[in-house]
Point group: none
Chain length 230, copies 2
DNA sequence: CCTGAGTGTTACAACTGTGTGACAGCTTTT
DNA sequence: AAAAGCTGTCACACAGTTGTAACACTCAGG
């Protein structure tokens, strides 16, 4: 039915096995890795649709791997769900900042896992080399690298384009300035957070009055792309 | 109190009867099925909150039914507790057992059964930070940082949002102003207790007449979030 | 009916977060 | 080499938010 491939990265064989069973029942194809290196190789090789990544790994930590994946163009679009052992607020936030698309705290039920997986896969539009996204007449077409509204091409700068693409593939969710810097600018650049504001402004301006409502400010939190007018 | 519906699937009428008695004493509504086919029909028809599923069934085995339920979207979210006759140490079997949301080995005490049931049901709707919480049409969605009623976004300020989130994850219990300051404002700020009153007022106003009954004053004690109109 | 404590409500000044335009350094195009 | 475009940062303007005080109201007990 779905046939999606899931990479499970955890050093505990028992946990991997449990997840594999749960996911195979839900008709996912599973591949496994015990450490970050093996995981990285498998990701490049097999290009899974999503990665389940344990927080604690021997050697390179899970978060380190996540950061690296998000940095490389070929892997940046693969959704990541972090598995964390304890309920750690800091970890959660750090994980999301780095680019994990969701996180689950152990212990979790297989049902919960599958539900989250589905949600993330639904949300994350596949790397869409040529998968135009359309929202309320606004069209972003990655294949032609163009943004269109009412058959008229909009003049959108490179950064604004990436920003818009990220937003359109991650709608209805708030992102902090920090998260946006990680996701759109790419993890390890040092840029002021307020810079995001400026590019948001430029993006809104480029979208015009017809569509600028899509980029919404969430005071004290960040920004959100939503079709529902705030 | 709970009124949850439990489907009991077992081919032994005596065992079903024992379970029914135990669960009805704990205020669960019970429906029964003797085989997989009957069970499947009842699940689709009655949408129970949880399924108690015997491992060994005539015809289609219990695990077969479980797999099918998890595959179909309309039933995948219903938790399953497996009843197994023997203790199987084999990893694969254990994995399958865990593939359900919990399992119990016969013989078991009624008290244990009820305890497991409660635990699974509690996990089924985790008060997780990032799952939307819904009460009487009022929805708070942390991922989009939004409060909605009747498909319309409510205008809730940052502090009111945090306050509401705390209340919705801690319903049916009174909190003093001091406790609320600790929990919502964060332990070490010096703020007058009466400030809580003002934000309660703002929150009520934001919720509107439709929902402001949820925030209840407990004279001399503090405030409470409850679905029962005081 | 009166009283005092507890709570609701409003107004407001200080504060904080965000919008906006300008600008200098850079890179790419011409 | 010049022009055009892009980027990041800043300063200032502006609007939303916050905590507090003041006053109005409610409730329980005498």
């Amino acid at each position: 039915m779905s046939g999606k491939t899931v990479l499970i990265v955890d050093d505990e064989p028992a946990i991997r096995e449990m997840i594999v069973v749960a996911l195979e029942m839900a008709d996912y194809e599973c591949i496994e890795a015990a450490d970050a290196l093996e995981a990285h190789a498998l990701i490049v090789d097999r290009q899974p649709d999503i990665v389940l990544l344990d927080w604690m790994l021997p050697g390179t930590s899970g978060i380190e791997l996540a950061r690296r994946l998000k940095k490389e163009d070929t892997t940046a679009d693969i959704p990541i769900i972090m598995l964390t052992a304890k309920v750690e607020e800091d970890n959660k936030i750090r994980g999301l900042e780095i680019g994990a698309d969701d996180y689950i705290t152990k212990p979790f039920s297989p049902r919960e896992l599958v539900a989250r997986l589905k949600a993330v896969l639904r949300r994350a539009t596949p790397p869409g080399i040529d998968n135009p996204i359309e929202v309320d007449g606004l069209i972003l077409d990655p294949s032609s690298h163009r943004v269109t509204a009412n058959d008229a091409s909009l003049n959108v700068g490179p950064t604004e384009y990436r920003l818009l693409q990220f937003f359109m593939t991650h709608q209805e969710r708030v992102y902090t300035r920090s998260q946006l810097l990680d996701q759109v600018w790419g993890g390890n650049v040092y840029v002021e957070e307020r810079t995001v504001d400026v590019h948001i402004r430029r993006l809104r301006k480029a979208l015009g009055e017809r569509h600028d409502y899509l980029i919404q400010t969430v005071r004290g939190a960040g920004y959100r792309f939503s079709t529902q007018p705030a």
